[in-house]
């Protein structure tokens, strides 16, 4: 019967409960995410403000640049900070993020050691404002915020950038998580399609499973050689509750929440995605569909965040 595997590869994926792009778009995103709430997640400034009001931990906002003219004030805004990150408010897929780690006289030092002048930073912001990184080229805003100092746990399994934890939250219940580790290939970015590693996480106890890198299963970080399996992620409960709490924030039922672990501040919510990708399934070696269907069958969803986290963990262990 071996040949059937090759003739109908879809059947095997189906039995895994693997969700494809068409099904995600047609059955989940268009059904559960109402268009009118999209601006809340598409504008990172708005998300941040909502989160701050709701008491959800986020990186501190240093300043916002909305019009070209304000680039002149850059020196003033940055005067107090040596470390910071500049992001487009409407960016997607980690595009257009500039991270500065320290200064050298009047120059700014990028994460990879390259020095930038203030003029070059100004040009980067100008590109952000003109909509280079936003969906559909809409005019954008640039956010200047606290640079996350990632937890020392990830020191050996990360190349330059900041690792983050992506969690799919459906109807307020976290159902699947993965740790995203930047590599040399991804140029320090945490996006899988750019070459970052996705590491599955046991939702019930916060221990890492195997990783997936460029669609292949890996057990060691390709740049540092350190094992990525079996790491215990600290503050796991807190991370799960932070992710689950984001559902109320944006009124969307199918979201991906990105959380980073700051060395000093603990888990911080970075952004919410209304169209989370599908590679998380490869990292976890599990399809999303069984979880989604079980939650769709739940008659009365528990109110409290803690109960929803427990429900997600129970489903994962089952």
């Amino acid at each position: 019967m071996g040949w059937k595997k090759y003739l109908f590869p879809g059947r095997k994926l189906r039995s895994f409960g693997l969700m494809g792009m068409n099904q995600r778009n047609g059955d989940y995103i268009s059904r559960y995410n109402r268009r009118k709430f999209y601006p809340l997640v598409d504008d990172k400034l708005l998300t941040k403000q909502l989160a701050m009001e709701a008491g959800i931990a986020v990186p501190a906002l240093y300043g916002v640049i909305e019009i070209e003219h304000q680039i002149g004030n850059l020196a003033k805004i940055l005067a107090d900070y040596d470390d910071f990150a500049i992001k487009p408010a409407h960016g997607s897929g980690g595009e257009g993020i500039l991270i500065v780690k320290g200064r050298s006289k009047h120059l700014y030092r990028k994460l990879n050691g390259v020095l930038l002048s203030e003029r070059e930073i100004g040009h980067h912001i100008s590109n952000i404002l003109s909509g280079m990184y936003s969906l559909g080229g809409q005019p954008d805003k640039a956010l200047i915020e606290y640079r996350v100092e990632f937890s020392s746990l990830f020191e050996h399994v990360s190349y330059q950038g900041v690792p983050d934890i992506r969690t799919i939250v459906f109807k307020g219940v976290p159902i699947m998580s993965m740790l995203r580790l930047p590599t040399r290939l991804s140029d320090g970015k945490a996006n899988l399609h750019q070459g970052a590693i996705g590491v599955g996480i046991n939702l019930a106890n916060g221990r890492t499973l195997q990783g997936v890198w460029c669609e292949e299963i890996v057990y060691h970080h390709p740049d540092t050689g350190y094992a990525i399996e079996g790491m215990e992620i600290p503050n796991w409960e807190q991370i799960m509750r932070l992710a689950a709490g984001c559902q109320e924030l944006v009124s969307l039922d199918y979201i991906g929440v990105d959380i980073v672990l700051d060395a000093a501040l603990g888990p911080l919510m970075l952004e919410i995605n209304a169209r989370p990708g599908l590679s998380i399934q490869i990292a976890n070696q599990k399809g999303l569909l069984p979880f989604l269907r079980q939650i769709e069958d739940v008659k009365k969803m528990p109110e409290s965040v803690l109960e929803r986290v427990r429900l997600g963990q129970k489903l994962y262990e089952a």
């Binding site: 994926l13 068409n22 100008s126 590109n127 490869i282």
Partner: protein
């Protein structure tokens, strides 16, 4: 069931479209496949002018009994105009009049022709021309030329041929150059030849022909030369001297009078459109719908002016291209720049043909991409940068046209038919993808786009499909049904099987 609504809707659409098709095939006997053999030429002359004060009078010359064609059917679309038809020996003239025209005026004359061996009518009243007096300088030149030609020819045919060869010689003598002066336009050239022939007392006349070529939209008449040898009129190309009329040419009228005269009107213009129709399709459709008074045929695209019909022939193929994109992207999962950009590229390929289209497009995008990277280095703002890319694309198009023209590759000129905004957007997107996701991804998407465009071209230029969708436009409902169903296809894309292959391993 969540998909029931879509399925029922699609089913209804399929039933409606199939029923209409079956009715047309069974009852109206419309051919399902294009039949090439017996074709009908549908010719339309469109007169337009802007009226000035006073009653408008429009005279248009029309063919009477065109050589080697038969007029199957003709009609005049003249709205509130009064119309009279006058006949002379060779031609007919339609006279349209209206006392108070308002706004731009349009008048149509349509005819349907089939190729036919008409007996050539006996020439009547051929008058032998009187010797004409030329200005002194010219007189000498004409006499010298006629003497020379006379000595080298045997009859009227060879005389005319010799004369035309000499008059059109590349390295012409001063005499010939003198005779060519002031006759640059084709009509004037033919008249000049006629007046020279009068010097030898050979009757000659101007025949104005329309070249019948499928899909012409702004056609004009071409003046031709005819001489009389005592028994019949013979035709000659006034430039090459070749005898006979070109293939598929219709003598619209004979003589040097203007084709169109407009009294109390400005900017009078006449344009011809020609379309080759399949005999069965058009002829039977018209006949049967007349007999049966079928309301289905009232909605037929054949009712539209031919100019518009030709536009719709292209437009109706676009839904097929759109369906192709749906299949390639949602079922197979090929990546491309933009959603419908490949289809617009494919439309441009219609004009350039596939291979040349691919070559020219790749050259333009590659050059544009190189310059775009240079612009990036200049740190320009987004919108001015896009505009710069557009300007550069136009300059590149001009350069490619000039270069290929110099090299004698006339196909290269068709680069001008590419939609430049599409090219600019492709370059911009490709460069962004290149920088953000790397050259591999950019090339993958670029090749994906060209692959879809090539498939789209092959699909949209398929003669059978074009015939079917034009004669049975209700098939669009069928396409819509398939698209709706595909819109609810939530299965895996073919490329996802590859993407998730790590899970397929045991």
């Amino acid at each position: 069931m969540k998909n029931l609504h879509v399925i029922l809707l699609a089913l209804t659409l399929v039933i409606i479209s199939t029923a209409l098709c079956v009715y047309k095939v069974v009852e109206l006997k419309l051919p399902l496949l294009p039949a090439e053999q017996a074709h009908v030429w549908a010719v339309e002359a469109r007169v337009s002018f802007k009226p000035t004060k006073g009653p408008a009078k429009v005279d248009l010359r029309l063919p009477k009994k065109p050589q080697s064609y038969m007029i199957l059917d003709e009609n005049f679309i003249s709205g509130s105009y009064g119309m009279t038809l006058e006949e002379s020996d060779e031609n007919r003239v339609v006279k349209w009049t209206l006392r108070r025209p308002r706004g731009n005026q349009f008048l149509y004359y349509r005819m349907q022709l089939i190729a036919d061996e008409m007996p050539i009518s006996e020439p009547i009243n051929v008058r032998y021309p009187q010797k004409k007096a030329y200005p002194e300088m010219m007189q000498t030149a004409v006499d010298a030329l006629l003497d020379e030609v006379r000595s080298k020819s045997a009859d009227t045919r060879s005389f005319t041929h010799e004369l035309l060869l000499r008059l059109n010689e590349k390295n012409a003598s001063d005499n010939i150059l003198l005779l060519r002066q002031g006759a640059e336009k084709p009509e004037m050239w033919v008249q000049r030849i006629i007046s020279i022939l009068a010097g030898a007392r050979i009757p000659a006349r101007q025949a104005n022909i329309l070249l019948l070529k499928d899909g012409i939209r702004h056609g004009k008449l071409t003046p031709w030369l005819q001489t009389y040898n005592g028994t019949e009129w013979m035709a000659f190309d006034p430039y090459s001297g070749a005898s006979g009329f070109p293939d598929d040419s219709l003598i619209w009228y004979i003589g040097d009078q203007p084709l169109l005269t407009v009294k109390n009107g400005r900017a009078g213009k006449i344009e011809f459109s020609v379309h080759k129709q399949f005999h069965e399709a058009e002829y039977i459709a018209r006949q049967r719908s007349d007999v049966k008074n079928s309301s289905v045929m009232a909605l037929s695209l054949f009712q539209l002016p031919i100019q518009t019909q030709n536009v719709y022939r292209v437009l109706l193929m676009m839904p097929l291209g759109a369906l192709l994109i749906v299949v390639l992207r949602n079922v197979i999962g090929i990546k491309s720049f933009g959603t419908f950009m490949p289809i617009l590229i494919a439309l441009a390929f219609r004009e350039t043909e596939l291979l040349w289209g691919l070559v020219l497009f790749s050259i333009l995008v590659a050059l544009g991409l190189m310059l775009r990277f240079y612009l990036e280095y200049l740190h320009l703002l987004l919108v001015p940068r896009l505009a710069s890319v557009l300007i550069i694309v136009v300059i590149l198009m001009v350069l490619v046209s000039l270069l290929t023209h110099k090299l004698g590759i006339e196909r290269g000129l068709s680069v001008a038919l590419f939609p430049m905004v599409i090219i600019s957007m492709t370059i911009e997107r490709m460069s962004l993808v290149w920088e953000e996701l790397g050259p591999a991804e950019a090339l993958q998407q670029g090749i994906g786009s060209l692959f879809i465009a090539s498939l789209g071209y092959l699909l949209m230029t398929n003669a059978v499909l074009e015939h079917m969708i034009f004669v049975f436009p209700e098939m669009l409902l069928f396409l819509l049904a398939i698209t709706l169903l595909l819109g609810r296809y939530t299965g895996y894309r073919l490329t996802e099987l590859w993407r998730f292959r790590a899970l397929l391993k045991d």
